[in-house]
Amino acid sequence: MTAAIEVRGLRKRYRRVEALRGVDFEVPEGSICGFLGPNGAGKSTTMEILMGLIKPSAGWASILGDDLDGDGLMTRSRIGYLPQDPSFFPRAKVRSILRFVARRYLVGSRAAINTRVDETLDLVGLTDLADRKVKALSGGELRRLGISQAIIGNPDLLILDEPSVGLDPEGRHQVLALLDRLREQMTIFYSSHILDDVERIADHIVVIDRGEIVEQGPMDRYLGGRGVYSVTLDVGDGDGVLRGLEHEPWVDEITPMGEREWRVETPDRAIAEHRLMRFLVANDGVRVVALRPAYRSLEDLYMELVGDADDH
């Protein structure tokens, strides 16, 4: 698979602090890649180097097939970027900002650009605020504007530094839905501390800790596609029910975990979610007390890899 981003031996030193210590990773084209790591791990520094905002002390990187060595203008015309703390012309209106950005990335009639601006405003739920000045926006609204200016040029690659920070739950949900919708059109490389969000939409992860990549690869490699569930039943003959379940072709293994608790493994999480509950409730006299995923979550993996950030 072609890499949208390829980084080799990237280093960045600020006087006595070595922010990046030989970073190597790849982001496959067409993927949604979550970039994870504790505060100060080097996520923003890496993204800023990729965007040409700061220069690496050593190493090499390529974005969309172009080395970082050149002026990068043509490459940047194919990238949408949301910095960690987005800042725009404070006295400009939201619509003017988007029009300004659109004209940097797109060529077309004024009417066509305006239509694209309106479409983007609608996509991020900013239509009602189109004529509001940037300085009057709340933090969450500013982040939405940041996301909208990143996607308005219809880029091939989207680099987002913590797109969900400062958003309320509804806003977070909208951002996730938006990224999910964009996955067919562009590669998305985004950093986040909200591991549930990353787990929901990312298909690839890169984990960085103290300036070094500690893990990277497809999400399935770590979390697996297996559907492992813990089932707790209130039933006289729980064993009988579970024996019946054992004969189902989509069940791999059943392991007793306690008096009324069993661990059920299936080859695929989707199958488990669809069939397991249906099977259980179809048995008269069985009351399902609990049915919860028992697989390793991204948070489990993350804590294994980087531990508690306070330990650093």
Binding site: S44, T45, E48, M51, G52, L53, I54, K55, D71, L73, M74, R76, S77, R78, I79, Y81, P83, D85, P86, S87, F88, F89, R91, A92, F100, V101, R103, R104, Y105, L106, V107, G108, S109, A111, A112, I113, N114, T115, R116, E119, G153, N154
Partner: protein, 284 residues
Amino acid sequence: MTTDAGTITSVEKVGPMQGLGGLIGVDLRVWFPLRTVLMVVVGLIIFGFMYLPWSAAPHPSVDPGFGFLFLGFLSVWSAVMLISAASFSEGAVLGEINRGTAGWLAAMPIRRASVIVAKFATAAVGYAVIIAVTGTLVYPILAGAVDRGGTGFRATVVVEVTQSPIGMWGRFADLPEFGNYLGMLAAIWAAVVFVVAAMMLLGTFLRSRTAVFGLGMMLVGLIVGGAIFGGSSVSATPAGAVWSVLQIAWGNDVALLTPIMSTLLLSIIVLGAAVWSFDRRELA
């Protein structure tokens, strides 16, 4: 990509000053109308302070001479223009860097040089308008005070309108002809433009706006000091541009072209250094 209003395509080539037009459009809104109107009003207030004591002089025998009025106005106004250039420009680059706007712009397909050149060009145009408008508004009143401006701006109009007793004071020193007067304004503008370029350069490598402003004010001090005390030895410098203006106001015959051209050339060199420095500045 197609929208309801037609087809739009991605940018397929980048020019040597990619993004300049858009940035000039943005920066012009910073200068027009607020800053330009403000600075024209400030100029007229300064002129008013210089002019009114003469027009209200209680005794016709007190005649400090027109040359003094003219020189006073041009000195104070030039200094104010230079100070305002340092004040308005101190945050032009560093403010954008600290706020994060420069990083936002640099992450787009925009050449960093365009950011600097756009700010410089709009400031240069802003000050050209400010100096031309203020100077042109002031000139007929000065001409009126002289009572023989020789450019069509006759004193009688002003005196009749303002009922000023200034005409009673007799003839003052000759006011430079309007063309020469425009040359004096151009020399002030050139010095101001140099300060703007220098502030841009300082903003690209310093990290404190206070330091940028402090050094900018020191530069203004050097220019004003050089204009007062430097004499002809500074004629090919920004201080020389202001010095030439004051010399002409005093009635001396000095050339304007050399200080204007050398100051503009210096400004372009300093601007080039600012572009070079900004290209290497980390915008995290």
